[in-house]
């Protein structure tokens, strides 16, 4: 597999970042996952973290080096994450189960498969045009579908944060699965949380990414999105993949052919590390030092020209 990948999460103006994102890949299969822990509920960031971890761990158990059934993997992982959140709440006698949205995508043998719960989104762009996207499990999306409000009213609607499906909720999550979607070289997969899409319409994302190296244009886009979020800005996160061999100068490509069977490369956004549950600082463990070094070395390789 050959692809260029970018991921970043910003806190916006919130006290904590409840978004979590990660990707991991074996020689032949790539997994991307984004979760937006729900504020107002206990431990949103814990929920998002559990969901992301669970996807990564299951992937590393099952992708050897490919998944037998990617869509089933996505559906099962969503359900397992939902159950894991319930067990977590039980274990710590929490009054309320931590909740999160989740969108996950698998790319294998030039096909993409995705699943989502809630209002974190996936867009698939081809040559600047949108050819696939998730449909939010939200009240406003329902209103749009019923023709009661226009699509442009979604962003400022008073109920824009109400979602009817999430992981960790009282009822089983509604899980939407995509079809098996063939990818062409140059296709862009963009996954993001509502903090990003609510301030950055997909047409604008498409325009910003078309013809521009994503590792250069996306950091700029994220900064701009944070500014647009203003004083009340939500956490905002994004993972983007440009599929296929390098097509633009200045775009370091990840090449997986040289990886051995059973080897995985994983990058979890580093909001996950270095603070304990109370947010207190503590010194590094040997394990964390090793991981930090491995991460830096991987980054150096990725940005080598």
């Amino acid at each position: 597999m050959r692809f260029t990948i970018f991921q970043e999460s910003l806190k916006g103006q919130r006290k904590i970042n409840q978004d979590r994102l990660a990707y991991t890949y074996s020689r032949d299969t790539l997994l991307l996952v984004v979760a937006d822990g729900m504020g107002g509920h206990a431990g949103g960031e814990i929920a998002a973290q559990i969901a992301v971890r669970l996807f990564i761990e299951r992937f590393q158990q099952e992708a050897k080096p490919t998944l037998k059934n990617p869509l089933k993997f996505l559906q099962d992982s969503m359900l397992r994450a939902h159950q894991a959140l319930g067990s977590y709440a039980e274990q710590f006698s929490m009054l309320e189960t931590p909740r999160t949205t989740c969108v996950a995508c698998i790319v294998q043998s030039n096909y993409a498969y995705w699943a989502h719960v809630g209002d974190s989104r996936l867009y698939l762009f081809r040559q600047g045009g949108l050819i696939g996207q998730t449909k939010d499990h939200s009240k406003v999306q329902y209103l749009v579908d019923q023709g009661l409000i226009g699509a442009h009213e979604v962003v400022n609607h008073p109920d824009r944060n109400k979602i009817f499906s999430c992981l960790g909720g009282l009822v089983e999550p509604v899980i939407d699965l995509s079809r098996r979607t063939p990818l062409r070289n140059g296709d862009l997969i963009v996954m993001c949380t509502d903090g990003l899409w609510s301030v950055y319409p997909q047409e604008e994302i498409a325009r910003a990414l078309t013809g521009a190296p994503i590792l250069k244009s996306l950091p700029v886009l994220m900064r701009e999105a944070e500014v647009r979020g203003g004083a009340e800005g939500d956490n905002l996160s994004l993972i983007a993949v440009r599929w296929g061999p390098e097509t633009l100068t200045d775009e370091p490509t990840t090449i997986t052919e040289t990886m051995s069977l059973g080897e995985f490369q994983t990058e979890i956004d580093r909001t996950l590390t270095l603070t304990d549950r109370k947010g207190m600082q503590r010194d590094l463990t040997d394990d964390e030092i090793e991981r930090a070094i491995a991460e830096i070395q991987a980054t150096i390789k990725r940005y080598k020209t």
Binding site: L10, K11, K15, E204, R207, A208, A212, P213, K216, S217, P219, V220, L221, R223, E224, T249, D250, R270, L274, Q281, D283, L284, I289, E290, A292, I293, E295, I296, Q297, T299, I300, Y303, K304, T305
Partner: protein
């Protein structure tokens, strides 16, 4: 004389690098010149905080107490921050990280070795004043590098002539990200602040919550001032009590263009909000582009940015 940390000796084999000599020593590290397997020179930075005496002999770094170990490990996070941030930046005007590893119970960062001298040495060596052409050339390129740094959410926070390297071809390289913080993401810098009087912005002394791109902009202004004056401007903390700084426009009227002098004065404003708010704004001012009628949209800016970078 107190006891200090011992530097690695010349000829010492550190993984596949052979130490040649110590180049510099800072508060948190020692920098060496070394040679790789192929005999090519590299700069290696060894994490070794001078406030903790950890190596009086030999090569292994040992913390003398549990408390020391905690401080040592804690400071290591900053070293990792620097490595993480620099690893992502591949820009001709920013020092390039080539490798990062653990040895001798501490961590090392290998960087591209650059030939030339620091801007500080350049200022001290020159008899006559630096020409406007050279000042413009050095700072325009340096700002390209700094813009890339800010794009990666990193603030340098210790911009001064000693941290700018001039290659033999005259192009600048921004060095030493030892003070750098990912302040654009974390709410507050986590380690005791480090700053250089004269080059550090007032908010670095008093209001760490207000650090931003404008803080590095102050350092740029102070460095430009130093190029003209051959000394640093009055320290910002002293300026807050009693501002004796004479504006560049007064001192060098006629000797340099109004544009350059105005830019220096603008960067050195005490109120962070009164300075250029971004490197882009500063570069625009230096280029003297007349303001366009239509306000640039984000996409225009992006296109322009990409375009200038491709060029």
């Amino acid at each position: 004389m107190g006891v200090t940390n011992q530097a690695l000796p010349s000829g010492y084999q550190l993984l596949n690098y052979r130490i040649d000599r110590q180049i510099s020593r800072g508060g948190f590290s020692i920098v060496y010149r070394a040679f790789d397997d192929a005999g090519a020179p590299v700069a290696i930075k060894e994490y070794l905080p001078s406030s903790l005496v950890l190596r009086t002999d030999g090569d292994i770094v040992r913390a003398s107490s549990a408390e020391n170990l905690t401080s040592f490990r804690y400071g290591m996070k900053c070293f990792f921050e620097e490595g993480r941030a620099l690893a992502k930046i591949n820009h001709p005007n920013v020092v390039r990280v080539l490798n990062f590893f653990r040895a001798n119970e501490t961590v090392y960062m290998v960087m591209r070795y650059e030939r030339g001298r620091t801007l500080q040495q350049q200022i001290q060596l020159r008899q006559d004043q630096m020409s406007e052409r050279l000042v413009r050339h050095v700072f325009m390129h340096l700002l390209n590098g700094l813009r890339e740094v800010h794009t990666h959410k990193l603030l340098h926070l210790d911009i001064k002539p000693a941290n700018v390297y001039l290659r033999t071809d005259g192009s600048p390289v921004l060095l030493d990200f030892g003070a750098a913080r990912q302040t654009l993401t974390t709410s507050r810098p986590k380690l005791a602040p480090m700053y250089t009087p004269g080059f550090a912005a007032p908010e670095q002394y008093r209001e760490p919550d207000r650090l931003g791109p404008w803080t590095d902009v102050y350092g740029i202004g102070a460095s430009m001032f130093a190029c003209l004056a051959a000394f640093a401007p009055q320290a910002a903390d002293a300026r807050l009590n009693e501002d004796h700084l004479v504006s560049a426009k007064k001192i060098w009227a006629g000797a340099y263009s109004d544009n350059v002098l105005e830019v220096i004065d603008w960067c050195l404003r005490l109120d962070p909000l009164e300075r250029p708010q971004s490197v882009f704004a500063l570069q625009k001012a230096i280029r003297e582009i007349a303001p366009r009628k239509r306000k640039l949209t984000f996409l225009d800016n992006l296109k322009k940015r990409l375009f200038t970078e491709v060029m």
